[in-house]
Assembly symmetry: C2
Homo-oligomer: 241 residues x 2
Amino acid sequence: MNEQFRGTVHREAISDQITDRVLSLIREQQLRPGDRLPPERELASLMGVSRATVREALRSLAMMNVIELRHGSGTYITSLEPQLLVENFDLVFSLNDNSFLELIEARQVIEPGATALAAKRITDEGIAVLDDVIVRSWHCLKTQPGDFPQLDIEFHAKTAEFSGNVLLMRIMQGLTQMSIASSHRTAVDEGAVSAARVERAILMHEGILDALKARDADLASQRMLKHLLAVEDTLRGAQTE
Amino acid sequence: MNEQFRGTVHREAISDQITDRVLSLIREQQLRPGDRLPPERELASLMGVSRATVREALRSLAMMNVIELRHGSGTYITSLEPQLLVENFDLVFSLNDNSFLELIEARQVIEPGATALAAKRITDEGIAVLDDVIVRSWHCLKTQPGDFPQLDIEFHAKTAEFSGNVLLMRIMQGLTQMSIASSHRTAVDEGAVSAARVERAILMHEGILDALKARDADLASQRMLKHLLAVEDTLRGAQTE
DNA sequence: AGTGTCCAAGTGATCTAACCAATTCCACCA
DNA sequence: TGGTGGAATTGGTTAGATCACTTGGACACT
């Protein structure tokens, strides 16, 4: 016996029911990208709840990039493209305190593979983008070597982007952001941006780009790993100075 | 002149500022798993905003499983485990048929490298843990083959753990967890848990573990990649059936 | 002392009723 | 024709109140 006590006592919170409802409508294609939802006031009266509750649900969906709230205009379904929906994936690994040695090690595991994929998929437009980064890097070396880290990040982020894999792209972006925060904390910047080091880094970027141009996945992957090992040496050196 | 008009017109919505603030506090270790946040009323007055706005932020964080709102008790930081934080990303896989291929591709990039690290760092205790997973996998095959995916996750998650890199561990555990969610969506389960396939998977796990026991990083890495390529074939096959 | 009951305080959940701010669109005028 | 101003629409935010759940301590009973 005692079956009579089965079942959950806590029903789901109202605002969670609303988010589930919207997500269901999206899955059933009753709501499609670009569609506009009814105004908040209307939704509230339709469902017999307060506007505040509706807004809690809508804001949650907006944070997941499922909908977009446009002030004065309305609520719209986003494009629902994968790169949008995984935008917050970095939460999975960025909420912890990480040493930059762990960071660089993770990049050594991920970037060579991502670069190999990029070699297979990069378009001529993509190559032009990376070429431009290199050109700007040389210019930066002559004028403001201190600004190089920004271009370094851009090169790596773009390379990850051309891997054509949105998850790898997001992971790389998250890791590079953490690298920035980490280097700011450890004051590594001064050592890493000496003109000689910047020049070596640009040369290695060029080598990687050449391999990408040749669509040589193995070579590109190898060179990216070598580059990241060099970065690790630089960081280790700066750390012990 | 006209400098007076500088600056961005659209500032970030207040509730988004609050979520960012909470996430920053977590990153800075000022808030840790299990910690309790101040009551909503207090947060509102501390930040000089209304309670409704605070709640929109908190509900968004709760939807991403970063915090938990306990009615009558308070607001608490969750465990922040990767398996928990990726829960809501399954929407990507139900909306886009090809996303799970990108997922397995990302795993193919990351897991071999992480496994190589594990080969260098795994302890005898770690090996015992993986041995136990294998033993339970064989037992599962004989009794409840349908429960194998859970053990599959466990093998990969533990391997990630023994890589000794928290970042890689979390990324890998998150991706592995999502694999299960995506395979549920695509109704692959039936095909994937056939006894023959389960047996093949366990044998490959054994091969990986043997390489780890030998501390052979290259071999372990190779075998992990081969295993994931096999998983991809299984998924592709199930997709077109 | 141990134990169970009950109540009050604390806290999240929801509602109501405003007003502010950005967008949209149409009527009106030049 | 075309711009221009203002009203209507709609999201953003606030304030205050009430409901519902949890917690812990006071109290009575054993």
